[in-house]
């Protein structure tokens, strides 16, 4: 199933707010452009234009709805009342000199609480605006107010972080503050996007708010104490939240751009959705499985079916109101009756309006309650729903076309076991190590970055390329980690290169074609100004880093209509993937030396003489598989070294590919580098392609789990990989809302790799992990040595690695001896690499008085080491031992 989100450009960029009318017929949004938009929610009318109300003169900050009317308020300091049925402006409620931050109707809609940028809260009688009660008690500016949906309580927050609970019907006659929760929420600015919303559960038994540590605290109204917290899903401040109409879910939105839907029964997050921008408004449809969101870009997002009701409870229907429901069915089945039902509703509502006296309202409430009860009875009895669901397989698309059926289904389902949730994000094409511009000017089409905006185009272990957008041109900066051989440089870029890659010999830049360039933008120092009239071609440009000869630089225009999609460079070749489905290879000097076809390439990375190409094999699967494959190629011989599937968990996607780099020091000559393909996915797991040289034998081994690492370090951070050295992940640590680094350039951090083995918190677990990891690395070195015929050069390294592994093994043996795990001792001893180590193991065993084990160890020693002749070279010997080693590891799994 897909995520069914309908986006609409509603307001200009900035804070937006959203609310549903209480009958669910319309969404009201307000934003920075000081306009209110009213969208019809009927699915048949979802593409119609909204009705625009422009009574406000400044940005709209708050919308509150009640049966008959809705109130809006904004920075212009006015609260306006509109009629629900006709969307007509009715009257001014409040005029204040300070901006209004929050509004709330009380449970019967007779009063409205207003939070302005003052220390007092005003309660205004809707019917008679001259009747105002002010509540004072807050010591700082009031940020939000919220009436209980059922009782006479009201809760308010201020920017100093205090929460006050008021009893509006106190025995003393005047409203009284009954409890203060000092410093319960984060301090914020009065005009901050964070709203410090207090969200009441619809039954009035709980309320929740965003705590200080990006969690949601749920409080009970019985004793005003915290019941539980919903945490570990938001990485940054929570802006606001809303309970679903039946109280079984909470939808929260944060600065980390995600929407999280929490199940309140088992207190866990059940659905997550990541938007392109932070979301500042959230509202549930009063009857449907639908969520309305507005983001800081001014967009309205209507999210249909956020909850998979085939496996989980419906967010709105538990105690359904039979009458409303029937009305609703009727409404959706025919297209015409929208006005009808509105009319029907408005007669009732108007009578309400005319007679806002409290008693009348109470009657209305009672009526509603009766209906509630009836609804429940009906609900219990209906087994039909289940029957229907089995029948149609709960196909979502079908359901949308058959709303009647859908509602019946929903009626039947109350709380059910929660099944797996997948959201589909199709794997996007990306350039490893690049980021996007942070702020884009959306006023022009296509959106262009603001002047002075910058982004990384390439960030690897060799260097960094970043570009600064300057309008007519860009400045491209190239910086190196190792400045011994290369100087940092920058140049003016008239093409606005969109992708780049850097290697030890040069940097390559590319831009898609098709942009119309103005004549005056051509510069004199740009030698290749042979631009044809009309559209520009796609360009590949190579810049050497070493200037031993003249004219090493080259530029190639691709044929018209063919665009570069991805580009990369290694020591011997420039590899460009184009929209024509070609992989074009050039030598460093610009000579075309290979071309082959490969469609749907997602990303490319190159290092040494290898290139890793990741491509889609078919589309994204319905249950979230990305179906990616990889191909590892030698660019000098053009041999395919390895190809296969890229293991990606469902509903995750690939975020980075690259190569690890192990510098092995040779005895006499310079450094010897070995490379190993890497992948990093949206679950922050780094995997390494093991045995990449033996065709058909390779597999991906997870060597780092970012989530786990952050958890053990007790930090909220993410790792943005740059590369990998022998046993360390080189990455940039990203905190807060961003998932990509920004400027100034953060220092590259190194984090020790940890394979996600079990029992990492015990010493034995850590040692097992260390041994496994060391074995992995040295196996790789060994195969690499054989593949490149450099066994002699590797000799020292391998010996050192063997010694290290033996040390770890001996410590494990010691632990095993201590706990009397005799079979395990033998397993471990069999993996030892030298007879001296086995001798040590024998000593350990005798120390622990395990004489039978010691005897067996001596046997192992004899079997393994005595039979080998001295003439066998050490390296060969360790090769064979390694095979033993592997057979043992399979044995060990049994434990």
């Amino acid at each position: 199933m897909t995520i069914n989100v309908l986006r609409k450009e509603a307001h200009s960029e900035g804070f937006t707010t959203v609310a549903y009318k209480t009958d669910g017929t319309a969404i009201i949004t307000g934003g920075q452009d000081s306009k209110l938009h009213v969208y019809n929610t009927l699915r048949s009318q979802r593409n119609t234009e909204p009705k625009i109300l422009d009574e406000h003169t400044e940005p709209v900050c708050a919308i509150a709805t009640h049966r008959a009317n809705f109130a809006t308020a904004g920075e212009d300091g006015t609260v306006l009342i509109f009629r629900n049925s006709t969307n007509d402006f009715e009257k001014f409620l409040v005029r204040s000199t300070t901006p209004i931050r929050s509004l709330s109707f009380n449970n019967n809609g007779t009063r409205i609480a207003v939070a302005t940028d003052e220390n007092v809260i005003r309660i205004i009688l809707v019917r008679d605006i001259s009747k105002v009660v002010t509540l004072s008690g807050h010591t700082t500016l009031v940020k939000s107010v919220a009436f209980s949906p059922t009782s006479d309580h009201m809760i308010s927050t201020d920017i100093g972080g205090d929460i006050k609970i008021w009893d509006m019907n106190h025995s003393s006659g005047a409203p009284q503050c009954v409890k203060t929760l000092p410093g319960a929420v984060r301090k914020c600015a009065s005009d901050a996007d964070v709203m410090n919303t207090i969200a009441w559960s619809p039954d009035g038994a709980y309320f929740c708010f965003a705590g200080k540590e990006h969690e949601i605290c749920v409080y009970s109204t019985k004793d005003w104490t915290q019941k539980y917290a919903l945490e570990f899903a938001h990485f940054n401040d929570i802006i606001t939240m809303a309970w679903s109409p039946n109280g079984s879910y909470i939808a929260s939105v944060g600065k980390d751009r995600t929407v999280v839907i929490w199940d309140t029964t088992n207190q866990s997050d059940v659905v997550k959705y990541e938007n392109t921008d932070a979301i500042s408004g959230v509202a549930w449809h009063p009857q449907e499985n639908e969520l309305a969101l507005t983001d800081l870009k001014g967009q309205l997002l209507m999210w249909y079916d956020p909850i998979n009701i085939s496996t989980m409870g419906h967010p709105a229907k538990k105690a359904t109101q039979e009458v409303d429901d029937l009305e609703h069915l009727f409404e959706e089945s025919s297209t015409q009756q929208a006005s009808l039902s509105n009319n029907g509703g408005s007669t009732r509502q108007e009578s309400l309006l005319d007679n806002v006296a409290q008693d009348h309202d109470i009657e209305e409430d009672e009526e509603g309650e009766e209906l509630d009860d009836e609804g429940e009875d009906v609900d219990m009895a209906s087994d039909m729903g289940d029957f229907v669901i089995d029948d149609d397989g709960a196909g979502y698309a079908e359901e949308q076309q058959q709303p009647q059926r859908q509602t019946t289904i929903r009626n039947g389902i109350t709380g059910r076991a929660i099944g797996p949730q997948h959201k589909i994000t199709e794997q996007a094409t990306f350039q490893p190590g690049s980021t996007t511009f942070r702020t884009m000017d959306t006023a022009v089409q296509p959106p262009t970055p603001l002047e002075g905006e910058r982004r990384y185009m390439a960030f690897n272990m060799f260097g960094i390329i970043y570009t600064i957008y300057q309008g007519a041109h860009s400045i491209v900066n190239v910086e190196f980690h190792d400045q011994a051989h290369n100087r940092n440089f920058h140049f003016t870029d008239y093409y606005h290169y969109t992708m780049a890659s850097i290697g030890p010999d040069g940097a390559v830049f590319a831009v898609e074609g098709g942009k119309r360039r103005k004549k005056e933008e051509k510069s004199n120092d740009d030698e290749d100004s042979r631009e044809p009239a009309g559209v520009t071609p796609s360009v590949i440009h190579y810049r050497p880093l070493m200037n031993w000869a003249n004219n090493l630089e080259w530029t190639i225009d691709l044929p018209e209509g063919e665009n570069v999609k991805s580009i990369t460079i290694n020591e011997s070749a420039v590899i460009a993937v184009t929209s024509a489905g070609y992989v074009r290879m050039f030598t460093i000097s610009g000579l075309q030396n290979h071309i082959f076809r490969l469609e749907n390439i997602v990303a490319t990375a190159a290092h040494g003489n290898l290139v890793l190409l990741v491509y889609k094999n078919g589309g994204t699967g319905l249950n979230g598989e990305q179906n990616l494959e990889f191909m590892l190629m030698d660019t000098t011989t053009q041999d395919i070294i390895q190809r296969g599937n890229l293991p990606l968990q469902k509903s995750s996607h690939l975020t980075w590919i690259g190569f690890s780099e192990t510098s092995v020091r040779q005895k006499l000559k310079n450094l010897l580098d070995v490379f190993q393909a890497l992948m990093y996915d949206s679950n922050y797991v780094l995997s390494i392609l093991h045995r990449q040289r033996s065709f058909g034998q390779s597999y991906w081994i997870p060597v780092f789990d970012g989530k786990l690492t952050a958890k053990t370090l007790e930090r909220q951070e993410r790792y943005w990989p740059v590369g990998m050295l022998r046993d360390r992940l080189m990455c940039l640590i990203v905190r807060g809302t961003n998932d990509a680094p920004y400027f100034p350039r953060p220092p590259v951090d190194d984090i020790e790799l940890h394979m996600p083995v079990i029992n990492l918190d015990t010493e034995a677990g850590q040692l097992e992990e260390a041994h496994m990891r060391m074995r992995l690395i040295s196996n790789h070195d060994r195969t690499e040595a054989i593949a490149t015929n450099q066994q002699d050069e590797y000799y020292d390294v391998l010996k050192e690695a063997d010694a290290d592994m033996d040390k770890t093994l001996l410590r494990l043996i010691q632990i095993a001896c201590r706990t009397d795990k005799e079979q395990r001792i033998l397993d471990l001893a069999a993996a030892l690499h030298s007879s001296r180590s086995v001798d040590a193991a024998v000593k350990v065993a005798t120390h622990f008085k395990l004489s039978n084990v010691a005897e067996k160890l001596v046997q192992i020693k004899e079997e393994k080491f005595m039979m080998h002749d001295e003439m066998l070279s050490l390296s060969k010997r360790s090769m064979e031992l390694d095979l033993d080693d592997e057979s043992i590891s399979s044995k060990r799994i049994r434990y």
Binding site: M461, F480, H481, D482, Q483, A484, S663, R665, V722, L725, R728, M730, P747, V748, D749, D750
Partner: protein, 189 residues
Amino acid sequence: MALPRSHQAAYTPSEIEFLAGEEDIIIIPTHSMPKLQFISGSFGPFRPPLKAKVPLWLALMLKKHHMCNILSPEWLSVDNLKKMLNDEETVAEFSPLPFHYMEISMMLLESASEDIPNSEQVRRYLKDLRETRQSKARAGLAVLDDRYLGMNNLSLMEINEIRPFFSRAFLEMRKLNAEESNNYSQPPA
């Protein structure tokens, strides 16, 4: 040494600076280098952008040759110093700064100020901190007696400042008190 007699008991500032040079600091090398062998140990190999932990003196030497960037220690940030200064002014205890904080920050600000974010502000806060701590230490000396003087988290440089006066005064007081206590405690036999 051409120091006045009273100061000979203490270190000279340059001696303290030398001692502080042994503190470890993290650098990001900008040149790859093989292992460097020194009498005090071997460091490296360096492989940019991999961070390396080296003694301060080596870091400063590499910095002088533009071969590394020094990663400013965590405590040497405006936020932290601000907090420390605030604590220093409100709490009676000395705030926990590294033993060689004055020397390290001095050396870093002198030769690697571009690697320290907001170095000007850092410098200002350090100055304020130093003055507050100095006056605190002086106030602490006022309660000197012949038994002990407890001032936690005092840095070497600060100890050094009060050392000449303190050691002399302490000895004198002990001498006086020793006579007293001898007088009192002499058993009547």
